[in-house]
Amino acid sequence: MSERSYTQVGTRPVRHDGLDKVTGRANYGADFSLPGMLHGALVRSPYAHARILSIDTSAAASMPGVKAVVTGKDIAETSAKLMMGEGAIDLHDVGDNLLAHGKVLYHGHPVAAVAATSLDLAREAASRIKVEYERLAPVESVDQAIAPGAPILDDKLVTAGQPSSAPKGPTNIAGRMELRRGDLDRGFADADLIVEREFRTAATHQGYIEPHACVARHGQDGQVVVWCSTQGPFAVRDACAGILGIDASRIKVIPSEIGGGFGGKISVYLEPVAIVLSRKSGRPVKMVMTREEVFRATGPTSATKILMKLGAKRDGTLVAASASLWYEAGAYRGSPSGAGAMCCFACYNIPNFFIEAYDVLVNKPKVAAYRAPGSPMVSFAVESLLDEISRTLGFDPIEIRLKNAVKEGDRAPYGPAYGPIGFRQVLEAAQAHPHWHAELGPNEGRGLACGFWFNAGMNSSATVMLNSDGSAGVITGNPDIGGTRVAQALMVAEELGIPVERVRPTVADTDVAGYTDVTGGSRVCYATGAAVIEAARDVREQLRARAAKIWNVPVEKVGWKDGQAVPQDGAGDQKPLSVVDIAAKLSHTGGPVIGRASVNLPMAGPAFGLHICDLQVDKETGQSKVLRYTAIQDVGKAVHPSFVEGQMQGGAAQGIGWALNEEYIFNRDGVMENPGFLDYRMPVASDLPMIDTVLVEVPNPLHPYGVRGVGEVPIVPPLAAVANAMRDATGIRYTELPLSPPRVLEGLAQSD
């Protein structure tokens, strides 16, 4: 990977879609309306666990202005699967989550929906639908779910990944996974120091400011159009097709600007219901969630219980590690327990380890992906224990991590050897950073922690078109949350040698864009970027052929340098032709030029992050304040550095919120008590300092520019960085998040 120089990549142009966003012209999911449009409202379960005995919709259906009413019967139970990054998603569960078929599995679980001429009327009608339930005891935690005699959510459930010897019979354990290497007992026998703790983290929500929203129109000809806010228009199209038994070619999904997702807007919650309501009413239907519905009924990430044990030699070398990971899945299988197991010890070479990970059903909303799903929780555990080992053995926290850090050629816990990775360089950058050596005041503590994420590859397509004036357009199907459109424009500009302002990036609907997997998994700059570069190079090759035609020479005699076709190998003294020159002759030389590429890339190669947090603690009230924060990360190559910094700063803020104040609070009946931004306490502007960033660039050979995924790693280190800073400031090792003032004060009271 020769260290090439770039003219456009690496600069910080204004994003092309920025003007609409700062002037209020950008359209998000709820900003779209159609003539004759109806408004939909959902009827949601008041119980966390119950059997549906009957649904009487007559009172609602008879109201003037009510045009359609649907229940679970209107969405057939399907056994279809949907191929996604994580593999085959079970559409049966997705369908049951849209409108319950027999049982309600969490408070807020939709059971019916109404479409009416106004939102107030739809809500009034929804309140008149009479649902008869047989209440069942709710399962509220992992401990309760696995206790003998626990209520069973799905009596047909079979634990996936369970060895054949394991007992069958009703269970709430949906899946088990294990990873093992070496001889665990001998490893711990060799250890001079063993540290072991139980860690607990609370369920947290992605917290995007834009609630889910869509408009669906089911035409009398069976053609369906959906406008929605989503991370994956193709995922929405294929999920709706699978669930409703419609041909994918009959569904067109038009992504709006998306008001944040972080993994929470990959699944479908509204779209299939809106389609069915539209079919029954013959009119377009708009559905917009309230903030309360977003909290109660869309994916938080798992609450977890983690038992972890580390063994180390006196010289700081890690020799053994074991972890038992219990992740709440919510109503249906599918927590990120597997990813947690794979990330657990991924930063360090540990010769002997045993990890078991469980996916456990509870009566809460089904969890969804939340930025490096599964990784923050295990990082909280392993980085806290490493902090203890370094204190006990008297090691500098960076030294002990350097001693055990993985490098190229080392084998990851999940098997294969690492390619080129930048973990050591990140550690060395931290060692050199002034923050690591700054003075601390009274009641202030400093914590450091590292984090890992895989970064996905998957399918992407791109189309690059050259206009006759020499400007260009690039089309992809990836909704742009974090500035990927301007990054794509930079790549096209770099390849064609034209200014980035002359490239127009567009996020197109599923009829226009080539198939592409979701915006997520930190993959868009990597995989879709690679397709964009390839498509731009396809254009460049066509321009060489056009120059050859103009010069009447074989194409081999046309070179390309700095955005110009140049004569080579004795092609005579032709004057180089710029993109603009060739574009002006397109119609003469064969017609329009369209570059096209599609890829299915292997995983992008992991990225490592390290965060340093200074925390001031008020020991009389348990309150704490982040005074200084630094995020260091191997980003491979920063295409648009401002937005790479933005991912690191945003991820850090979410991680800090997860560490200090964010949690789902349930009462004994399984009802969430804080479904709003008042008591679900996300960090506000006055809670945080400036978040300094250091971009380490160890190129990833799988991408033409060395790009590595950057979006997800930054949420991983903050949990332990804050917890280790709390330990440094108070002397107490807190092992349960969030570190809210009551919990901190209780710990302080017990310790003195």
Binding site: V14, Y28, D31, I209, E210, G482, S642, G651, M682, M690
Partner: protein
């Protein structure tokens, strides 16, 4: 259905709309007047995405009844740019890449304008506390605060 006729001024223009007594100013702006730049993030006054300026006061339009707009002057995000040019805050948000998804940006820019009108030379801390009612989940606030401080500096210099 006894609707109420409201006569008000939005972004410097006389506007009239019909609404119901319990409708909020937010839904009236979006659904009756068609100005969808003001966003709903929570409808409980906790996220700031619906911020507008009503008679020189920064308010959450989701907690204002639409009829209360009668006879008042309202500024929404659509009225921040003055005709041809962008407001310095809008320009600063672009040059600082102070937005990612952008759904909170209208609220931040309207709140930022109210701040700079009241305090042309705020410190970082004053900016952070003034904007504490505007939630952002993407940026971690860093670049937003820098953009507001930069815009304030620019406006002070251009008035000097």
């Amino acid at each position: 259905m006894d609707t109420i006729r409201v006569q008000t001024t939005i972004n410097g223009e006389a506007v009239e709309f019909l609404c119901e007594g319990h409708e909020t100013l937010l839904t009236a702006l979006r659904d009756r007047v068609g100005l969808t730049g003001t966003k709903e993030g929570c409808a409980t006054g906790d996220c700031g995405a619906c911020s507008v300026i009503m008679s020189e006061r920064l308010v959450p339009s989701c907690l204002v009844l639409a009829p209360e707009a009668e006879g008042r002057t309202i500024t929404t995000i659509e009225g921040i740019a003055n005709g041809s040019g962008l407001h310095p805050l809008q320009q600063a948000f672009l040059t600082h890449s102070a937005l990612q998804c952008g759904v909170c940006t209208p609220g931040f820019i309207v709140a930022g304008k109210a701040l700079l009108d009241a305090n042309p030379n705020p410190t970082e801390t004053e900016v952070r506390y003034w904007l504490a009612g505007n939630l952002c989940r993407c940026t971690g606030y860093d670049k937003i605060i820098r953009a507001v401080l930069d815009a304030a500096d620019h406006m002070r210099r251009s008035q000097a």
